[in-house]
């Protein structure tokens, strides 16, 4: 993985599945990240309503949380240990979903992250997430 600061375009380009879901990195830095994903008929989980599948939202949340960890000062790479997603309401069909993640604490090897996803429709998020991630640190020479 790239060391911070991460070139926004490079980050998504380096992740084939994030590219497959048409994700866009909106902001990143200092343990925070914002990534959005457009609505797409191929990502629908409930054909009766046109609502995006929870799995696609999970993928967005996981990517965004991982990006937040990578942008934490001194991080060199990361991997998900566990991730819990609460689906608070259905995302509006057709709406872009934006995830915002924050790495709020990191020990030498574990990073704790929380995130929310919104669809611009109301102040209530579509989903929230909390997870633990492995964090690999750069050494004193700034190398992985």
């Amino acid at each position: 993985m790239t060391s911070p600061p991460i070139a926004p375009q490079k980050f998504i380009e380096a992740l084939p599945f994030a590219r497959a879901l048409n994700m866009t990195l909106e902001e990143i830095g200092d343990g925070r990240a914002e990534i959005s994903m457009p609505w797409d008929a191929r990502f629908v989980g409930d054909p009766a309503t046109g609502v995006i599948h929870g799995g696609a939202v999970s993928a967005l949340m996981d990517t965004c949380c991982g990006a937040a960890v990578l942008s934490f000062p001194g991080a060199s790479s990361t991997a998900t240990i566990d991730l819990r997603i609460d689906y608070m309401r259905a995302a509006r069909p057709g709406a872009r979903i934006t995830a915002r993640a924050e790495c709020y604490h990191a020990t030498r090897s574990v990073a704790f992250v929380r995130a929310t996803a919104t669809d611009g429709e109301s102040d209530t998020p579509v989903a929230s997430a909390a997870g633990a991630f492995v964090i690999e640190r750069l050494n004193s020479e700034g190398k992985p």
């Binding site: 992740l15 599945f17 994030a18 054909p47 999970s58 996981d62 240990i81």
Partner: protein, 171 residues
Amino acid sequence: MSRPAPEPVQVVKQRRDAALAALVDGVPYIGFLGVRFERLGDELTAILPFDDKLIGNPALPAIHGGVTASFLEVTAIIELSWAMIWADMESGKLDPLTLDREHLPRLPKTIDFTVDYLRSGLPRDAYARARVNRFGRRYASVHVEAWQDNRTRMFAQATGHFLMPAREGTE
């Protein structure tokens, strides 16, 4: 008195396979991931054939954590929906041949889903099976396990809670 003759095996198989196909084919995201299901009686195994687009870490390479989460959640929802329609289908209350995109039973909705990443997903096919641990009127609790080469070495597991759709006679 004589019992009615048992249904011919191909009739039973056709009914069950048609119901499963309608359920799976109705969900676009399952097709996007390339997930398919194999059925042995009422037991389902989900299969995720490896594809380059599923990669999350090209350096290893490893399957994207979001793919793993999606695969587990898809498996849980199909298993739960399958359990939901099985009884109706076998009793003849539900005719699978009338099931299509417009006439699917309402799917359960995910309340929460927790994924435990045990080891990185290798660039090869993955398999998953789900178990419904609680099948209530309001909500269900489902556990899912995914593995690759070796059934006893899971690479991920998950537990999720699902809101059950309103069903006839249960309101």
